[in-house]
């Protein structure tokens, strides 16, 4: 049932190493992405990074680790009590980005994160990019795969990754891992915030 895979989608930080998603599964995900993209055309490029290039990406991401931890604490996404567990998970994750066989990096044209107000075109590009990201996450689940977003919050790291990809005019909208899960996170705790009128 569709609702089941929507509910079961969780951010996965530990993947079965060496298990490569089939071409059919990847194509199943990409065909759903094409449907979304046809509805909402924007400047967009999706990198599917695996094998050696993915290994080369890991040291760049590792530099990002300490900033990410600090932001998570400051932003209260992680409380002081769970900080040691969180740090342990992140240290393990950063060794090889969770061991997923594929990373997907979505690029589009964005605006400066330092600016408080973004122009409409940049907000649209951002929104569509995340619609694409969510489509990838749902159709991965439907095809027996799992995903996890790894966040960028540092302009200098983003710059290095773009340089690594050979891109000059685009920005990173999202980065996801794709693979077979090797952990079982708890079900998502949600609040019913729906009102009918």
């Amino acid at each position: 049932m569709v609702l089941d895979f929507i509910k079961q989608r969780r951010t996965i930080r530990k993947y079965k190493r060496g298990l490569i998603p089939s071409e059919e599964a990847l194509e199943g995900i990409l065909s759903a992405v094409r449907v979304i993209y046809a509805q909402y055309p924007i400047p967009f490029k999706l990198y599917i990074v695996s094998g050696r290039p993915r290994l080369e990406l890991i040291p760049l991401m590792r530099q990002h680790y300490s900033i990410f931890i600090d932001l998570a604490i400051i932003g209260k996404a992680v409380s002081e009590e769970v900080r040691p567990v969180f740090e342990k998970i992140m240290v393990e994750f950063m060794k090889d980005l969770g061991g997923a066989s594929i990373s997907l990096i979505g690029l589009t044209k964005l605006y400066s994160w330092k600016e408080e107000k973004w122009p409409d075109w940049a907000i649209r590009n951002w929104k569509v990019s995340w619609m694409i990201a969510q489509t990838i996450m749902l159709y991965a689940k439907k095809n027996g795969l799992d995903t996890g977003s790894f966040t960028f919050s540092s302009a200098s790291i983003e710059e290095k990754i773009l340089e690594f990809l050979g891109e000059r005019d685009l920005n990173i909208a999202f980065a996801l891992n794709l693979g077979y899960r090797d952990e079982n996170p708890l079900p998502k705790d949600v609040e019913w915030k729906v009102v009918e009128i």
């Binding site: 989608r9 759903a32 973004w118 907000i123 969510q134 998502k188 009102v195």
Partner: protein
């Protein structure tokens, strides 16, 4: 597969299906789990729907409004907007599975947005309308299309 439409039948969506659609929207990704930064308002009373669709080219029997907390910084508010759009994707995927169709508008007209805040009684200073989902049974357009190639001789 995803079923998008811009034309909907004037037929109500059954309550059972509506509940499934509503539940699907709660499972979008967000760093804070919970509290999630969103509020979903489902406009289904014909009177309210009529009030709202006056300001949009799409007319459907049910309209989902995805309101998202503005957040305290650009990064924070953009992350919230992303969650709202992910909710709309959940809605579209779930609607398609229930033989319904969906139209998602991520930048609706200003008049529509103003009316949406008014009828939902939500504060514009605290929230953004990140996406709107129009849902219903799609009008099946009867179009006869041919592309044939015939070789003889």
């Amino acid at each position: 597969m995803l079923n998008f439409s811009e034309k909907f039948l004037d037929v109500p969506v059954e309550d059972g299906k509506l509940k499934i659609l509503e539940e699907s929207t709660l499972y979008a990704p967000h760093a804070l789990n919970p509290p999630q930064p969103w509020r979903v308002v489902v406009v289904k009373s014909p009177e309210r729907v009529r009030e709202l669709v006056k300001f949009h080219r799409i007319k459907s029997p049910v309209i989902f409004l995805f309101f998202i907390n503005k957040g305290v910084a650009t990064l924070n508010s953009m992350a919230n907007l992303a969650s709202g759009c992910a909710q709309a994707v959940n809605l579209a995927v779930q609607a398609s599975a229930l033989n319904l169709a969906c139209f998602i508008d991520i930048d609706p007209p200003k008049d529509f947005v103003d009316k949406a805040f008014e009828i939902a009684k939500i504060s514009e200073t605290e929230y953004d309308l990140s996406a709107v989902g129009f849902v219903g049974y799609p009008v099946k357009e009867e179009r006869e299309v041919f592309f044939e190639v015939e070789r003889r001789g």
